[in-house]
Each structure stands twice: as structure tokens, then as C-alpha cells.
């Protein structure tokens, strides 16, 4: 029989506020104000997760309400073997997935899912082909605020397969850790890293095409 996992230790917070562990314990004893502090602390990250998974602000709002309410109702079951934030992400991700599944019952909801990701091209000897090799990084920084560039990025990200897009957005745009993403999406950390890398490679190709197409500067 396996031993139960030890509750995780918690470092003191730099802002002097009570840590999640203490707030969870107070919430479990019925302290609604402590739960409110947990909500305030985690709502923005949870919103980004919900928004990235559902792609809709309205859906993200409902996911957020459902997730925090579920978390509150399930708090007596939380034993502290994982970070509270990871546990919360998992609840929100499940809520978002349920919502997506319900929507996909509608015909054509998956009609635009691309099947393959693009990436760099190599010669038979494994060297980069010149088409994958123009240096647009400097131009990219100069045109960071360009509307055209913004549209190109938006389009390229939307064209990623959903599983890759979610991981990419959570990691590279929202700054979640690999561990939190893996926990929320029920993936292994290597799977998170692999999807992230492939998504970056595909987006890099699309951005290269944008810059090489000679789109006019703003």
C-alpha cells in the first residue's frame, strides 16, 4: 500500500500576505473572506487559462464562475498534496473542456482544425534550407506595434491545432509554468515541451513568410 503524499511546504510570501496553504485551511473552516483572498490572488491567471482554452471572453467568464464555485465546494477534499494553484487550474481546465465538448456537438465545429504543423525545412544532410533562414528578428522588434503584424500573428496562432495553441498561449503569452500547464491539461511535462516547441516552430515559419512577403511598413 502506498504512503499518502506529504503536504507541500510553503515559503513565506514577499508581500507579507498569508500563503495559499493558510488561506485554504481558513476557507475549509468556513472563512469566506479567506476564500475571497484566494479568488483575488488567482482569478487573473485562471481567466487567461479559460480564455485560451475556450477562445471566448463570454465562455471564459462562465468557466471562471463555475471553477471557483466548484473549488469552493470541493475544498473539503483538498489535502494539500499539490499546489492550490495547480489544483485550481485543473478544475478550471475541466470546466473549459466540458464547455468545449458541449459546443462541439454542433455540426462543423471542428471543420477548420488543421491536420499538420509547418516547420523549418532541411536538406537531406540535415542543414537548414535558405527558405527557413531569413533574419527578420530585428525588423520584428521595429514593427512590434504594427497592425498588420498583429493581424498576421493573430491569424497564425488561430491556425495552430487547438492542443498546440493552448499550450503555446499559456506558456509564451501568459507565462504559466510547464508544471502548471501539464497539470491543468492532463499532459506530461515532456508533452507540454514538445507541443510548445512545435507550435513555436510553426509560428516562426508563418512570421517568416509574413516578413519575407514584403508587407509594407506602417
Amino acid at each position: 500500500m502506498s504512503e499518502p503524499a506529504d503536504p507541500i511546504k510553503e515559503e513565506p510570501r514577499a508581500d507579507g500576505q498569508p500563503g495559499d496553504k493558510e488561506l485554504v485551511e481558513r476557507s475549509q473552516k468556513g472563512d469566506g473572506a479567506a476564500f475571497a483572498m484566494l479568488v483575488e490572488r488567482h482569478q487573473r491567471q485562471l481567466y487567461r487559462l479559460a480564455l485560451r482554452m475556450t477562445g471566448s471572453e463570454a465562455d471564459a467568464q462562465e468557466v471562471l464562475q463555475e471553477a471557483f464555485l466548484n473549488a469552493y465546494q470541493k475544498l473539503p477534499l483538498f489535502r494539500g498534496e499539490a499546489q492550490f494553484s495547480s489544483w485550481l487550474y485543473r478544475i478550471a481546465a475541466n470546466s473549459a473542456l466540458m464547455r468545449l465538448r458541449r459546443k462541439r456537438r454542433a455540426p462543423d465545429a471542428l471543420g477548420e482544425q488543421p491536420l499538420e504543423l509547418s516547420g523549418p525545412r532541411f536538406s537531406a544532410e540535415g542543414h537548414l534550407e535558405p527558405t527557413s533562414n531569413s533574419d527578420w528578428s530585428q525588423r520584428a522588434d521595429e514593427r512590434m506595434m504594427s497592425t498588420e503584424l498583429g493581424s498576421a500573428i493573430d491569424k497564425a496562432v488561430k491556425e495552430l491545432p487547438e492542443d498546440y495553441r493552448t499550450v503555446f498561449l499559456l506558456k509564451d503569452v501568459d507565462g504559466l509554468s510547464n508544471d502548471d500547464i501539464a497539470h491543468a491539461l492532463s499532459l506530461s511535462v515532456p508533452a507540454v515541451k514538445s507541443r510548445l516547441h512545435r507550435a513555436r516552430l510553426a509560428l516562426r515559419e508563418k512570421l517568416g513568410e509574413f516578413f519575407d512577403s514584403g508587407a509594407p511598413a506602417e
Partner: protein, 105 residues
């Protein structure tokens, strides 16, 4: 002995871990040795890094203030004793929320 990174393809495969700093030291060293002799891969690293930077600058999304308020109101109705200790400190919305009204779950 360090196994060299022979080809650009191998370099590209290792790049994600290298940039995160999670590549084992011997592989990181081999990759750096390859980069020191391969200008196309240096360009590749620059554009690979720029991809994440650009997407972050364009797609960063903050929680709209209206949503902070509606969530607080919703939970206030369902969680006994729920009250926020501070006034809403959410960022100003970057645009109008698609549906910022309170929703019942």
C-alpha cells in the same frame, strides 16, 4: 566525451530546451559549439526567440475589470461570508467585454 551536434536539424530539435535552460550541460555545450560555426542556426535562434516575444506583445490579455466585478458579485451570492479585502485592483479593460454582464452558472 561530448557528442557533437552534427546538423542544423538536431540543433533545432534541442532549441526549446536550450532556451528554457533545461538542456543537460553536455548537450548545451555541443549545441553552442554548433552555433559558433553555423550562421544559419544563429539566425534561427534569433527568430525563434523573436516569435515568442512578438506573440506576447500582441496577445497579452488582462482580465477585464467588469469581469472582476461580476465574478465577485456571483461568488458573493454563493459563498457565505465572501467579501474581498481590497477594492478591485484589476487592470483597466483594453476593450469592451463581449459579455460583461453577470452570468448564472
Amino acid at each position: 566525451m561530448t557528442t557533437p551536434v552534427q546538423h542544423c536539424k538536431e540543433c533545432v530539435e534541442l532549441l526549446g530546451e536550450y532556451i528554457e535552460g533545461t538542456l543537460p550541460p553536455d548537450r548545451a555545450k555541443a549545441l553552442e559549439e554548433h552555433l559558433s560555426t553555423c550562421p544559419p542556426c544563429i539566425t534561427f535562434v534569433r527568430t525563434y526567440k523573436a516569435t515568442g516575444r512578438l506573440c506576447r506583445s500582441v496577445m497579452k490579455s488582462d482580465m477585464p475589470r467588469e469581469l472582476v466585478t461580476s465574478l465577485k458579485s456571483f461568488l458573493g451570492e454563493h459563498v457565505p461570508g465572501f467579501s474581498c479585502t481590497k477594492p478591485d485592483s484589476g487592470p483597466a479593460p483594453s476593450g469592451v467585454a463581449a459579455d460583461s454582464g453577470r452570468k448564472k452558472v
